[in-house]
């Protein structure tokens, strides 16, 4: 059964197409992001060596034909480690944001729809969470739960829930006043059905745009946590962890720090460009530009 009414507007797919044509920066961001995703997915094929294979004889060698980006203190190939690190970063990023979107979005939907006390309670908790810095919150959750991939995802999702709740609540408040919701209630639809099948599709837009913007933040938080030492445990390759390891030998082997940094930067910039473009494309005020 389809939604009673999808508010008039262009479908998200067409909007994406229009955006790619009109905003070169955003499409550049999208293209690069796609490249990174492909690189991560096909990492085992693209990486020449096992990222965790140690070769003490070849430790700390600069970039060469055999080791494209050099080796680290344990003789592990940097290029392979970066590729596999991409997998970790992207996986954690996407998983945590998906989790945050689901939980935060539902909470915001509930708060906006129910109003009154439910709204006040949920939003006060969200407000308090919002004022806590992401990194510190993530740090503490990981400290409490212990560093592992699953816990990292939970931790980062935790830091992102409040913004999604906020962004889901506002349009819910507006939409619940509309006639087709009244009509649905008159037809005897349950609250849950109205919320999930009728309101949710209409606010999905804004949630997804925020998701793309927060993906960059999530990846940055993961890298930062790895740098502090709270990331996925070694010997698994993570970008932040590689920088942490390389920090000590920065003077002798700068490539250990430079290449993972470039990787992080490339992902951050392209995700930011993409997120910005998506946000501009869906902003009604900017429609005529």
């Amino acid at each position: 059964m389809t939604a009673l009414a999808l508010l008039p507007g262009i479908s998200p797919l067409r909007r994406l197409a229009r955006l790619c044509w009109r905003r070169k920066a955003a499409s550049f961001g999208a293209a690069v992001t796609l490249l990174v995703v492909l690189a991560a997915v096909f990492a085992p094929l693209l990486a020449h060596q096992d990222p965790n294979e140690q070769d003490i004889l070849a430790q700390l060698t600069p970039p060469s034909a055999e080791h494209l980006l050099g080796t680290d203190t344990f003789g592990r190939d940097v290029w392979s480690r970066i590729l596999h690190g991409a997998r970790i970063s992207l996986f954690i990023g996407v998983a945590s944001i998906a989790l945050a979107m689901a939980i935060g979005g539902l909470l915001g939907l509930l708060a906006g729809y129910r109003g009154g006390r439910t709204d006040r309670i949920i939003m006060s908790v969200m407000d308090m969470m919002l004022s806590f810095p992401s990194l510190v919150m993530g740090l503490l959750v990981v400290a409490v739960l212990g560093p592992s991939m699953g816990n990292l995802i939970i931790a980062i999702a935790f830091t992102a829930v409040a913004p999604f709740a906020r962004i889901a609540r506002a349009p819910t408040l507006a939409i619940k006043q509309r006639d087709f919701i009244e009509a649905g209630r008159a037809l005897g639809y349950s609250d849950a059905r109205l919320m999930l099948r009728h309101i949710l599709p209409n606010i999905l837009d804004e949630i997804l745009v925020l998701g793309s913007l927060w993906l960059a933040t999530a990846i940055r938080t993961e890298a930062s946590l790895s740098f502090i030492g709270l990331g996925v445990r070694p010997p698994t390759a993570t970008w932040g962890g590689m920088i942490r390891d390389g920090f000590e030998n920065m003077l002798d082997a700068p490539w250990l720090v430079i290449f993972p940094s470039i990787a992080i930067l490339v992902v951050m910039i392209s995700l930011n460009l993409l997120g910005d473009g998506l946000r501009d494309a869906t902003d009604p005020k900017l429609r005529n530009e």
């Binding site: 006060s124 004022s131 806590f132 810095p133 992401s134 409490v144 739960l145 890298a223 910005d276």
Partner: protein
């Protein structure tokens, strides 16, 4: 204004209690027994129970809660398990460093970010706007620790303009200032990126308002319209966002302190984490809670100054 301030101060109290409760909950929901985590799997029963008593974990949870709140509100933050010194004194020792870093970064952020945002809004879609937006994007895309490492590499190591920092740097005020520059710059540039963005978009919103048209119709000179009329109104959302960014600042200061080997709250937390110093961890959380409530209070008070509608309720 006075009434408004009073109201805000009073509201801050339940907020503080609420945040402290959240802190308590976070620390207690850890799966597993902290005593086992600290002592290891093979610890004896007695040792575990002794540690429990030491950590105050041997009483029912509601009593733990009351003990916790009572201690915090009377200023007792427990003792570090490593140094056995009161946590509060450790915090007092490093607080000035964190404060000076935060204030310097915020100052740089506002002093540079605000004008850049205004210029970008004024010359929308032209060259200046484009350049400023690019720089802003770069600033946002650099995670704090990477930019810190980059600054360290370039300025301290390659160019040798500024010293690589060590603990001894802090005795001498000159050296202390020199040791502040790079970390403040690191955080400051990130703040510049954020503040430029929000200033630009807030200004653009206000420029389209009717009262700006009225000001121009009065013949108010263009520069006056931008600074006195537009910016003054744009500040309201900007201050909100800066209040939110204080959190970002605090988070990033942790990373900066690590890279630059600077004493401060962030460093303290990381050391506590690595050595499983439970009481210190808990106390650090409490400190952060306080700081955040204070920051929010400050933002609210700023509203009272900027927005007459809020003042005259």
């Amino acid at each position: 204004m006075f009434l408004y301030t009073l109201k805000r101060l009073l509201l801050a109290i339940p907020t503080l209690l609420g945040v402290l409760t959240i802190v308590f909950v976070i620390v207690r929901i850890a799966p597993g027994d902290p005593a086992i985590v600290i002592l290891g799997e093979n610890a004896t029963r007695d040792a575990i129970e002794q540690l429990h008593a030491q950590l105050g974990l041997d009483v029912p949870i509601w009593q733990q809660y009351l003990n916790f709140m009572g201690q915090v509100l009377s200023g007792d933050l427990g003792r570090s398990m490593i140094t056995n010194r009161p946590v509060l004194s450790e915090v007092w020792r490093v607080l000035p460093y964190t404060m000076e870093l935060t204030v310097a970064a915020l100052a740089i952020g506002i002093a540079v970010g605000l004008p850049l945002g205004v210029i970008a809004a004024r010359h929308r879609n032209k060259a200046a706007d484009f350049v400023i937006r690019c720089l802003s994007l770069l600033g946002l895309s650099f995670p704090a620790f990477i930019s810190a490492i980059l600054l360290l590499l370039v300025f301290s190591i390659q160019l040798k303009w500024l010293p690589v920092i060590g603990e001894a740097s802090y005795a001498d005020p000159d050296k202390r200032l020199a040791a502040l520059i790079l970390p403040a710059l690191n955080l400051g540039l990130i703040m510049v990126a954020y503040i430029t963005r929000v200033t630009r978009s807030s200004m653009l919103n206000v420029i389209g308002e009717d009262y700006i048209r009225t000001a121009r119709a009065k013949g108010v000179p263009a520069r006056w319209v931008i600074w006195r009329h537009t910016l003054r109104n744009a500040l309201i959302p900007i201050v909100t966002v800066i209040g939110l960014y204080l959190g970002v600042l605090i988070g990033n200061s942790v990373l900066t302190e690590i890279v630059f080997n600077r004493p401060g709250l962030g460093k303290l937390i990381v050391i506590a984490l690595n050595s499983r110093d439970y009481p210190t961890l808990q106390a650090m959380l409490v400190i952060y809670a306080f700081v955040i409530v204070l920051a929010n209070l400050f933002t609210d008070l700023m509203y009272g100054v900027i927005d007459p509608k809020v003042r005259n309720q």
